[in-house]
């Protein structure tokens, strides 16, 4: 039993999974059941009181989902994880543990349009107030801190333009202000960037994208880095104070460096209810087994396509951090040396109309509102994912009217380039 260190690809295949105790099944079974029998009354009471490890009801936990949770926690270098129904559900559950009505959180302005929308409108109705900061101006995060600020939220590689965020610099601001840094690592996946290594306290994912990777299942996950001390100053009562719904348990005291993941499960998922279907967990787990292979191919293809576009006369500009001329190239070399991801934008000299024309002519690229599929995808963010933002906010988040977003798949890159060439040509 030496403490040897297996690599990322080994963890992607093995972490969290082992042969099924009852049948010996080697692939992780889909435990498609709502509930689990108790041995006796004491066992039931122990489980409900969080005293014993085990399963009760699939809204609180499920053995298939648990394999997914441990696997992503291992890949991210976290202490524990909680799988939920979608990336958006992960964001709600995380912030529910941190914010009381009237509290604030700071978010980077460059985010997935749906997150900007969720923070601006849905969360406002919960009394959680978002304050925007500019990830290209670290001081803007510092300036945004007030006594009511409870967390900072950023994307590692930001949707839609694939810009790279300086996680370490922002984590320094968070640490100084005594609040956790939450990083949405959806577009990078832990294969490219492990935010915890750079100071993140909580990592969230839309598993719907590269982790699942095949465009077939929605899912989300929350990873606890085990780095934040929730006990200081009573600022995070969900973790530090006795919980009435559990007869006075204090979660940090009881669960130590994975208390945040437990809070998300027993106070968030249990009560808000966005449980992940075990079938989706199975599909996503299968996807994760090939994450390192797929992600490298995604990045290599994306770089080739970005280079092609940068040299095309109809293209005004390409925003891809993998290109040496890109504003974010130095950050990409530091944070994502294996590749700058596979989601990026470019703009056409012909503006909005040329964008619409391009999308209609493409034959391999699918026009749809998703990223991180094996298939290559294309969308015009200004009229879709970012359509609820006003014009100024569209430009600020990298989704101006002339901008087209690509998510590069794992096809042969020559075919992707040929498809773009014919669509741009005529």
């Amino acid at each position: 039993m030496s403490d040897r260190l297996p690599g990322f690809s080994t963890l992607a295949v093995h972490a969290g999974a082992q042969p099924d105790p009852t049948t010996g099944a080697r692939a992780t079974p889909i435990y498609q059941t709502t509930s689990f029998v108790f041995n006796d009354a004491d066992h039931a009471a122990s489980l409900f009181g969080l005293q014993a490890f085990g399963n009760i009801y699939t809204r609180i936990g499920n053995p298939t989902n648990a394999v997914l949770e441990e696997r992503v926690a291992a890949l991210e270098g976290g202490t524990a994880a909680l799988a939920v129904a979608s990336g958006h559900a992960a964001q709600v559950v995380v912030l529910q543990q941190l914010l009381q009505p009237g509290d604030e959180f700071i978010a980077a302005r460059k985010l997935y349009g749906g997150s900007i929308n969720q923070f601006t409108h849905a969360f406002k109705s919960f009394g959680w107030n978002v304050v925007w900061a500019d990830p290209d101006d670290i001081a803007s995060f510092e300036r945004a801190v007030t006594p009511r600020t409870k967390a900072i939220f950023i994307e590692s590689i930001a949707n839609p333009a694939g810009s790279i965020t300086d996680i370490e610099a922002i984590s320094t601001v968070a640490r100084k202000a005594g609040m956790p840094l939450i990083v949405d690592n959806t577009l990078a996946s832990p294969y490219l960037i492990r935010p915890i290594d750079h100071g993140a306290d909580i990592v969230v994912h839309s598993l719907t994208k590269f982790l699942g990777g095949h465009g077939n299942s929605l899912g989300g996950i929350i990873v606890d880095a085990g780095t934040f001390d929730w006990s200081t100053g009573g600022k995070y009562p969900m973790l530090s104070e006795p919980r009435p719904e559990y007869h006075g348990i204090r979660l940090q005291e009881t669960f130590g460096n994975f208390a945040f993941a437990i809070a998300c499960r027993v106070l968030g998922l249990r009560d808000l209810g966005p449980a992940l279907s075990p079938f989706n967990a199975f599909m996503i787990l299968t996807g994760i087994e090939t994450l390192p292979l797929r992600m490298q191919r995604h990045c290599d293809n994306a770089k080739a396509v970005a280079e092609f576009l940068a040299g095309h006369p109809a293209v005004a500009s390409v925003s891809y951090a993998g290109l040496p001329s890109d504003k974010y190239h130095q950050l990409a070399r530091k944070y994502a040396p294996k590749g700058a991801g596979a989601v990026f934008t470019f703009s056409l000299k012909g503006g909005y109309d040329a964008g619409v024309n391009l999308v209609s002519k493409l034959q391999l690229f699918s026009h749809l509102a998703n990223v991180g599929d094996t298939r290559s995808l294309v969308i015009h963010p200004a009229s879709t994912t970012h359509s609820q933002l006003d014009d100024a906010a569209k430009v600020k988040s990298g989704a101006g009217p002339d901008v087209v977003r690509l998510s590069i798949g794992i096809e042969d890159k020559e075919d992707l380039i040929a498809d773009l060439e014919q669509a741009l040509g005529a």
Binding site: P21, A80, D197, A225, Y246, E253, A261
Partner: protein, 203 residues
Amino acid sequence: MSNNKKRQVMNHDAYPDNYIRGILNSVKSIAMVGASPVNVRPSYFAFKYLAQRGYDMIPVNPGHVGKELLGKPFVASLSDIGRPVDMIDIFRNSSHIMPVVEEALALDPLPKVIWMQLGARDDAAAAKAESVGIKVVMNRCPKIEYGRLSSEISWMGVNSRTLSSKRAPAPTQGMRLSLNRMSVGGGDTAASDRAAKNKTEQS
């Protein structure tokens, strides 16, 4: 353990799994100082779990002498146990550790292990115990470590940092579980260990 000068200095910021595994595989009796009969206290959780996994548990708490914890009579102090114990598990704040360690060092025979609960750490007390060959664990929970090394804790989405391609029996009540899975530093929680270390240094 007479050759304690040659003993490696234990790094109490990050224990190798082998060290913890060795302890949990070898000790049989555990005296829990500060065991609480209140069923939402962490000490109660740990006491109940370790008893269910087959350890011979002894609750030590002067405030509850005359009562029982899950069928085991409370004793007032370590010296009242009246038989050898392998491990002392201390459920007290860092500031109350030293007197318990001193009491443990007066036992004959000495315990093999002194374990301080999650959140508790006293480096001076640890050094004192280690100087007479006692193994020390600080700021950890034996329930969590047992659950982690057996991977039973994986039911809660916790990163066990272990792998196995072997088929293990489904855990039932009272069953001792194998702790001999492969450890994976690759699924590390170095970040969490580092944060704990920074916290200790600040306080």
